[in-house]
Symmetry: C2
Subunit: 172 residues, 2 copies
């Protein structure tokens, strides 16, 4: 296994759900969002859009829309990621590119010492999220990322590489 800063960040990244009570500077959030926009997308259509939620009152309301609301409430800032339908050209490919953009958010955060977790259960109430955040229907909620300075160091596990490998065609 190679070790450089990128690999270390990919491997060390954890879903962080507990945060200390400390504000994340705006410059950090902006850098994280800047990383998000450099993800690849089919036809370079960049179908991602973002809403930043730092306001405690809105976070409180947002937290009522998922059973993982406590995470949102205790986070420093949330980034809601949307799929901009008019920019789309193929739902499957567009969603994968949004996943790539989210991974940039998570890795950029980790590299700056910010904990993050990708929340998906809230998609069950995506229309209500749009309504709360005053976002039109042509932007569809794809995920909410909660961010904060970490107050836990969870472990994580993965399937072995061997178990993920299908057929191999090579000279080796």
């Amino acid at each position: 296994m190679k070790t450089n800063e990128v690999f270390k960040t990919i491997l060390n990244r954890r879903s962080i759900r507990k945060y200390i009570n400390r504000e994340i500077p705006d410059s950090i959030i902006e850098s994280i969002l800047d990383a998000a926009r450099w993800a690849p997308s089919g036809l370079n259509n960049q179908p991602w859009r973002f809403s930043v939620i730092k306001d405690a009152h809105i976070k409180e309301k947002l937290s009522s829309l998922t059973k993982y609301g406590k995470i949102i409430k205790n986070s420093g800032t949330c980034i809601a990621v949307f799929y901009n339908i008019p920019s789309g050209y193929n739902r499957d490919k567009d969603l994968m590119s949004i996943g790539a953009s989210i991974q940039n958010i998570l890795l950029a955060s980790e590299s700056l010492g910010i904990g993050a977790v990708w929340l998906g259960e809230i998609l069950n109430r995506k229309e209500e999220v749009n309504s709360l955040l005053e976002i039109e229907k042509d932007n569809e909620l794809a995920a909410v990322i909660a961010l904060g300075y970490p107050d836990e160091t969870p472990s994580k596990n993965r399937k072995s590489l061997e178990s993920l490998m299908l057929k191999k065609f090579g000279k080796t």
Copy 2:
């Protein structure tokens, strides 16, 4: 904008479609795949599977299934990424997590000096890819990533961060 190795890699990564004629060592491909498996997924379901294609004869056949075949043919190695349907729990979320895994592949490659491009047009003939690679239908082709030592330094552009921002809720 922050600058550390992770940010540099995210920003410097380009879609590389031209490669010099040099083999990629197996240890590098293995490291790149190892990075892929550490992506996040809903319920940690890890719905990604991989097939590695290094064999020139199979690459030749694979290249006939997309109009971007020349890239595949000239690549050192291709990684076909599949969506393992039986592991899935929500197609949208599963596809986004596969996108996160693909982004790990692209960033890990970039960090090791390997050029890569995410090929999607080949999904038009996904069943034929499965057939060629002898992969059962419960694994659905999600992307083919072509890899090789770069023989070009393309530019890339993105929408401004401002144009991607929806409403902001904050104290600032």
